[in-house]
């Protein structure tokens, strides 16, 4: 991993379990837990773009939201190195303290429709954080909103319009403008383009990339789309059923796969280069129910290379190469990927 000094966020052993209730004769009782996030570890350096990839339901969105403390973690720590305040464990903060943190960490939502209050004008939406933190008021606020709109490629004249007047892509720009309003150090992008038309996706991705470069932003970029991640991220973490199974720099990961799941995932994704020859590894079977995951390695029922050990012993995430971590008993023995 990168040096400690550069680390902006250090997530360790993060868990988020949702209780399952069963309505019995005498009311509700908890019968089980959905382990949406189950012991996730990673770090992000300042200015880095970390991709978090996985099939839908693997817990990546929950991970993002838990880091933001939109969800309360069941266990683990989320150390954030604030510019001014030094290291803070987000997992321990109360609501009021979190408000301070959210000045520095922001979220870009997947759905540009539901994430904008339809009863507010652009000015109110984008200005909301500025207003809430008493950063700016009146004309200054308006100017800043205009500026932010400009940043994301929208005309300042639109300020008095309501979201219903905008297309999906435009709305996502509004969401980005809002996230940028307070100059956060880090932005969690929760599948920011998956709800958009393919033609628009590139525009938004470029915008995000530009902004990242321009402001040296740190992104946790959550996506199920490997090609998007490859295009944008410095490093990539792959999640499977609440756990990270492989994490490495983008270059390293795409060229030197260490985990069978990643291999399957990669081979099922469309490649940007049709000429590139890749071994086709089918992803068979269903993603297991996170409430009742299989014993041992969660992936073993779908794994082409599964052995006895995999059925009994859960593999740990370990550094198989410098900067390349994988959670497979047999990473070193298998020769995966292209």
């Amino acid at each position: 991993m990168t040096t400690q000094n550069d680390t902006l966020l250090h997530v360790s052993n993060l868990k988020k379990h949702f209780p399952i209730y069963n309505r019995g004769i005498l009311g509700k009782r908890v019968t089980n837990y959905v382990k949406a996030v189950d012991g996730v570890n990673f770090t992000i350096s300042r200015g880095e773009v970390l991709g978090l990839v996985g099939e839908s339901g693997c817990g990546k969105t929950t991970t993002g939201r838990t880091i933001l403390r939109a969800e309360t973690p069941t266990d683990g720590s989320i150390i954030f190195r604030d510019n001014d305040k030094g290291e803070i464990d987000l997992a321990l903060l109360n609501r009021e303290e979190l408000r301070d943190v959210w000045r520095n960490i922001q979220l870009i939502f997947q759905d540009p429709y539901s994430s904008l209050n339809p009863r507010m004008t652009l000015e109110q939406i984008v200005g909301e954080p500025l207003h809430n933190y008493d950063v700016l008021k009146g004309g200054a606020l308006r100017d800043r909103v205009a500026e932010l709109l400009g940043l994301v490629g929208l005309r300042p004249e639109y300020m008095s319009r309501y979201p219903h007047a905008f297309s999906g892509g435009q709305r996502q720009r509004i969401g980005i403008a809002r996230a940028l309003a307070l100059n956060p150090q880090m932005i969690i992008c929760d599948e920011p383009v998956s709800a958009l038309d393919v033609s628009i996706q590139a525009q938004i991705l470029n915008l995000l990339q530009d902004l990242q470069a321009q402001f040296q932003l740190t992104y946790l970029f959550i996506s199920h789309d490997l090609s998007v991640v490859r295009h944008l991220c410095h490093r990539v973490a792959v999640m499977y059923v609440g756990k990270i199974v492989e994490i490495a720099s983008t270059e390293e990961l795409f060229n030197n796969i260490q985990h069978p799941y990643c291999e399957a995932l990669l081979s099922s994704a469309p490649t940007p280069d049709p000429r590139a020859k890749r071994k086709h590894v089918p992803l068979i079977g269903e993603v297991p129910d996170p409430a009742n995951p299989p014993p041992g390695c969660y992936f073993h029922p779908r794994c082409l290379y599964a052995k006895e050990q995999c059925k009994a012993e859960p593999p740990l995430l370990r550094e198989v190469k410098p900067g390349h971590w994988s959670a497979c008993h047999f990473s070193e023995e298998l020769s995966l990927g292209s």
């Binding site: 309505r23 019995g24 004769i25 005498l26």
Partner: protein, 328 residues
């Protein structure tokens, strides 16, 4: 299914228990205790009551004991002996007065529901299949009108028309010659000839709502692809509509019975007062006006229990028809 049944039954029991408390509170609500009321009633009728008798009654009804003891005694009486207490006004056990009338109340209520269904389902289907037709608008309007006219007003107007146009008293459930007669075909026919008026009155206020529900459900169903498929297969329009969409549309309809029931009971009650039906309604009103509270409490309780049971039955029916409900 068993779990579902148990859960619903337990909930119903809990509700009934709360109802019993509410009813007891109603009995206790009027200022003073019911004995003063009782004595006043006796005097109104010309009786003279010595103080000794008042003291004797005070003892007998356990007045002056803590509230929960009185409640316990009252509940024990109901559960053990079906004794709901004594009607102050009538001077006999409440239970002696109620059962006949409860039967008729349930009958009027059920026939009203039947009426509502018989009218609302076909009209709703028609309105959905002939959306925005003149008849559709007409039904909607009539439905709204039925919703807007208070039951008692409709009853009053019908009574007035009956009286001033036909010189007939349209009240009651039987003609005088049948009122004390044993059950016979003649009496039954006579009953039917009187029953349609309260049925109509209670029904009107509910058909509107149900027509709209049915129409909306039908519209949802009728645009489903499977209907198109069936049409493509050459089913006649009539069979097409009645075979599938109606059946499916009926499901949410059944569940409306659950919440319609309490209101229909209320409708029957107020209509019965105007039409002088020998149901429980006029008895309740009279009990309330003369503060015959054991009677009033018992009636509120019995009506509520009947409603809860009715709702339970409709819940169970619904669960039988629509297994999704069970999982909820």
């Amino acid at each position: 299914m068993f779990q579902f049944l148990m859960r619903r039954s337990l909930a119903a029991l809990a509700t009934i228990w709360v109802i019993s408390i509410v009813s007891f509170v109603i009995i206790q609500l009027p200022p003073g205790d019911f004995l003063t009321t009782y004595m006043a009633n006796l005097r109104e009728m010309g009786e003279r009551v010595p103080e000794e008798q008042i003291a004797a009654m005070r003892e007998r009804y356990g007045l002056g004991e803590p509230m929960f003891v009185q409640y316990y005694k009252w509940m024990r009486g109901i559960i053990q002996d079906g004794d709901f207490g004594r009607s102050m006004e009538w001077g006999v056990p409440v239970s002696m007065l109620l059962w006949d009338r409860i039967g008729l109340t349930v009958m009027v209520g059920l026939s009203s529901i039947l009426f509502v269904w018989v009218v609302a389902i076909p009209v709703g289907v028609y309105s959905a299949t002939h959306q925005y037709s003149i008849l559709d608008y007409l039904f909607t309007f009539i439905g709204f009108l039925g919703l807007a006219i208070p039951n008692f007003l409709l009853a009053l107007v019908l009574m007035w028309i009956g009286w001033s146009v036909f010189g007939q008293n349209v009240g009651g459930l039987y003609s005088p010659e049948y009122s004390n007669a044993p059950w016979s075909i003649g009496k039954f026919i006579d009953l039917l000839s009187h029953l349609w008026i309260p049925m109509l009155i209670v029904g009107t206020s509910w058909t509107a709502g149900l027509i709209r529900t049915m129409r909306a459900n039908m519209l949802d169903e009728i645009n489903q692809p499977y209907v198109e498929t069936a049409r493509a297969k050459g089913l006649t329009e009539w069979r097409l509509v009645w075979k599938y969409p109606v059946r499916v549309a009926l499901n949410p309809f059944i569940s409306t019975v659950g919440y319609a029931l309490p209101q229909i009971v209320g409708g029957v009650l107020i209509t019965a007062v105007v039409l002088n039906l020998p149901t429980i309604g006029p008895l309740l009103l009279r009990a309330l006006l003369s503060q015959d509270m054991f009677m009033a409490g018992a009636i509120v309780m019995i009506l509520s229990i009947l409603t809860v049971i009715g709702t339970l039955i409709s819940d169970i029916l619904l669960a039988v028809f629509d297994p999704r409900i069970r999982l909820e």
